[in-house]
Symmetry: C3
Subunit: 352 residues, 3 copies
Amino acid sequence: MSDVSVTESRPGDSRFFQRSGPFGLERLAEVSDSTIVVAASGKGLSEFRGVAPLHVAGPDEVSFLDNRRYLPLLAETRAGAVILSPAFSDKLPPDTAGLVCKTPYLAWARVATLFHPAPTSTGLHHSTACIADDAEIGENVEIGPFAVIGNGVRIGRDSVIGSHVSIGQSVEIGARCRIGAHAAISHARIGERVTLYPGVRIGQDGFGFAVGPDGFETVPQLGLVVLEDGVEIGANSTIDRGSMRDTLIGAGTRIDNLVQIGHNARLGRCCIVVSQAGISGSTELGDFVTIAAQAGLIGHIKIGAKARIGAQCGVMSDVDAGADVIGSPAMPFREFFRNVATLRRLSRKSAD
Amino acid sequence: MSDVSVTESRPGDSRFFQRSGPFGLERLAEVSDSTIVVAASGKGLSEFRGVAPLHVAGPDEVSFLDNRRYLPLLAETRAGAVILSPAFSDKLPPDTAGLVCKTPYLAWARVATLFHPAPTSTGLHHSTACIADDAEIGENVEIGPFAVIGNGVRIGRDSVIGSHVSIGQSVEIGARCRIGAHAAISHARIGERVTLYPGVRIGQDGFGFAVGPDGFETVPQLGLVVLEDGVEIGANSTIDRGSMRDTLIGAGTRIDNLVQIGHNARLGRCCIVVSQAGISGSTELGDFVTIAAQAGLIGHIKIGAKARIGAQCGVMSDVDAGADVIGSPAMPFREFFRNVATLRRLSRKSAD
Amino acid sequence: MSDVSVTESRPGDSRFFQRSGPFGLERLAEVSDSTIVVAASGKGLSEFRGVAPLHVAGPDEVSFLDNRRYLPLLAETRAGAVILSPAFSDKLPPDTAGLVCKTPYLAWARVATLFHPAPTSTGLHHSTACIADDAEIGENVEIGPFAVIGNGVRIGRDSVIGSHVSIGQSVEIGARCRIGAHAAISHARIGERVTLYPGVRIGQDGFGFAVGPDGFETVPQLGLVVLEDGVEIGANSTIDRGSMRDTLIGAGTRIDNLVQIGHNARLGRCCIVVSQAGISGSTELGDFVTIAAQAGLIGHIKIGAKARIGAQCGVMSDVDAGADVIGSPAMPFREFFRNVATLRRLSRKSAD
């Protein structure tokens, strides 16, 4: 390649990411709710400039360990400080300080966010954006190029509306939301701190029709989509509006890329739906349900709180709270893997 | 949430949906091909203002019952009228009129559409749209902000082109079509009354390449996509153009969200393809075929008319007309569930 | 349909496709590395105007045969010349010349490309495009309507940027790339001759979060997406940027529509990923790996070079180089089909 050299970049490249700092060890300990273990050699910088993996980090960077598998990397790291659990704090190399805590991954999230805060609103409305006269745009809202904001739309303060976003009539969006480029939103009410990634489609008609004498006839879809506070929806995912009630995504729920949510579906709080999964119409999830990648749920069923649905699982009936299921049709994890073993054994026997 | 209250909305909220009416019972009976059963009490309003579910509807609203499961709700409804089948007409509460017919769901579709007609064209071309000088735009066509209409494009009367739509050179679109926001269409001929939902991709190159000495070499894709009258394509679905013939979707066929249709595929009339299903290149479907969610069809096979392919089914060979198949690889429904039972039984026995 | 007649089109319709030519047989032989077999009758045109399938082609068109199944069509073709392998060259009808070679499909790709070259850059920047002052745009780059090019972006010569494309800050794009309509790109470095189809999402945050006391907390995603030379990404596919290293797609790899690639994933050179497949975070593919449609790979595994993963396969652990696997969980092809046969036999026996 002549113009562009494609070599590995360091994490947090300042051309692409905001940077903050430097920060002292005390600040990092405070943010991450950690205890400081001073480097055994007594050496060590007082200021840190960023985060990096164990094998890349230098003396002015913070790194992270949460898996015994990476202990050899810890022994050789040049990182100035490492976030890790108490179990590993005696393995720190002599020039490396420790930030010791019980939830190192959470601590890592907070330290990395301190160095690389998420972009915030510029408060600018791009001159090319089409904003309806009666739209109510809150303070310090950023609106990107070629965005279209329809009649009666309300957007809360500090939200960021990306380029080419289309927001239909009367849609409500709360404060501190981030709406990614090319998102299309209609017939929806959206809470605070909601993030929609690029290409999300919210609020289109559900897949509803009756059989008439000359083909299918559309059944009007007269509900909305409601996204509660803190919801995140991944790139190119689609959420249909309800037919006679609202499609509802509970607070804090995170949905990955290319996920389909059918009309009237209800997801509880803090659910996780991994990429390419699909939830059919009118199905209901309790709180803290996990749906792994490419799983599919039939319509009109109920999934109990904290249930876990495995990857590629085909769920055709209700799932109890706390259950772990996998397979198509869905069954308990243990039963699925026992079936796999049984079939393998019988097949080999018959091949003998 | 401070700015936005996210509480359940009533269906057909006038901020989001068009409303028509009020209408008398005779008009509703006519539209829905129903017979009127006067309320037993003799009471009842002469005019109705909208539709609502049984547990929500009031005396000036019409509701609907088509499932025995909801008979308890019928007993307690305050709805002024209910659409239902003859089997349930003696269960109407005393103040509720009946609209009795053999196909209540179809009747419901028509009554709901009467109260909430689909949006129609404003006939306005937004000032920001880029419309080629030689494009032929029919009467009363609406063109949204930032739409791009290429050279030689033809669009039939009363069609609505959403915001940010991209229509490539020479594409033909019939009358009364609705093209959703952010749709991208190229190399295509589209009939009348076709609906494309937001983010649909029509007419891009199929996935075709030959192995050359230095890697893959693209095989030119020289066919089009043809969508016949009344076709609907769901949000973010993708339909590749043909390689040497056209990719064809038959009249009245409805495709859900996130569906993939490969090059040269042919779908018959009034097929149903549910979300996240995929149909590989050159595969052909007869009329009235149903493909359930997340099913996948290999290329170069034929699916007979009225066949039904179950959810997550993996179809590797032809399917007879009228057959019901499920599983991966696909097999008759009965065989699939017998296999599931057999394996469960053998597994339990071996675990004993 | 009144305005638009939807009848089958001939391949390469000049309203939709560029045409080049006419070309003589010698030129076609040269381009396709073929040997000319003169028509037995001695007749035959000296100039050819396009390509067409065997049953459609006329005397001034070139056609193609690579499957014994279509020999009956060869016998009846009116094509002036047919590309085919030495095994079939004695089956040519009397008025048809042969272009004989060992790799007829590759020859076909090159001849079809000669008659229908891919569109090239007009070199025009549309007046509606928003291009940052400090973006470095190479010579002869085409930029479509409503494209947004961010600060510090670099685009190599002869590239084509479609309508409504959004390119974020500091993104690098090499020479001769084609970026389809509505693509959104951020946090990425892209090589030469890369093609992104419409609606592709590159560089958004991966699906990363830690469990905090009040719900999920986002883990900053501080890596990029790197697409090496010649990569192609299908419509509406999504590639998340890395968390602490880059997500990497190796040179020449082709990814179909609606595919998901998770953060930190690494694909080797000349891999094929068919539509609706998903590759989870941190998983690594060697060179020349094939992933068939709707297959899913769990995170943190390694797939060896030239391995082939079957359609709908669920891969939960490493796969050896050169292995063929299918099923969920993945197993060797032979074992999978033996299992299918065993279960069918046992089920029938138990039903007797």
